[in-house]
Symmetry: C2
Subunit: 146 residues, 2 copies
DNA sequence: AACTAATTTGCAACATTGTTGCAAATAGAC
DNA sequence: GTCTATTTGCAACAATGTTGCAAATTAGTT
């Protein structure tokens, strides 16, 4: 099997000040190959060659820290991760997009292209981050039912 | 110690087709006494008389099923629960309010009184539930800093 | 007040998810 | 190739959530 995404991954990791290691390249490759968010166990089951559970946790943590991926907690408590688009960095995550969790296929997508209205908080509250999670049925699953 | 909330709790439980038991009365009492959301471990530590961990899980599950409380997953994966206002039932939960998680005190509040804009999803997607989670600093903690 | 059926509880055991410390291996810079 | 800081694997642990089953309890009925 050829590592056709090798070059891209490496550059991305370097850009985020992360050392190039096999786990990181593979995990990043998974994210780039899938349109939806991945949980720790998704990743653990998909990786070729066995890496330690702990290593995967630490890989994900470092990715979040360096602004490469963001965390998406689902309603049932499952935590997933998805690639950040562009504006995220070590300093801060900026995710004003909606996360969509499909009840049929169970997958979580980032809906980048829909407008997100601004929510005004009450007096005295300040906020650093806003998270939108929609639950329902996704395009594919709706089509499948028809 | 007097059970001063006994009457209220009992009625609420009956209204939601739940049998009246000591755990349920106490857990419901906790929710009614606190303005913020509670996690399983919050509840476990606060209850007087020791009830089994499993029983508390099942109590919370039954409350959610019957539309008495709703689940609020935080960004770090911690799951909390808060009382539903009124319109929730066994059939469906309707929570178009914002959940606010304070990074300073760690508490989660339901902000009922702020307007929540409608989000329009892309073609093909249908949604049943929308969840807003803001992270930042709450009124009290902002005041404390000043 | 006693009887009964269905629900709920406690216990034990287990599964999953996430964390920490430390020695060995590795990446990147010289 | 050498050196240093980072990363990995392992082991152990902590926290969170689930399941099966027997005993206890609730609420309705006589």
């Amino acid at each position: 099997m050829k590592k056709h995404t090798h070059g891209n991954n490496t550059t991305l990791l370097e850009n985020h000040k992360l050392r190039i290691t096999p786990v990181r390249q593979q995990v990043l490759g998974l994210f780039m190959g899938k349109p939806h968010a991945l949980s720790h166990s998704d990743i653990e089951q998909t990786l070729v060659g066995d890496f330690d559970r702990v290593t995967i946790y630490r890989t994900l943590t470092s990715f979040v820290d360096k602004g490469l991926v963001h965390k998406i907690p689902a309603e049932n408590g499952v935590v997933r991760y998805a690639l950040c688009k562009d504006t995220c960095s070590e300093e801060a995550h900026h995710h004003s997009h909606v996360h969509f969790n499909c009840g049929a296929c169970g997958q979580t997508f980032c809906l980048e292209n829909i407008s997100v209205p601004t929510i005004t908080l009450p007096q005295g509250y300040t906020f650093t981050d806003m998270n939108y999670l929609a639950t329902g049925t996704c395009k594919n699953c709706n089509k499948a039912q028809h």
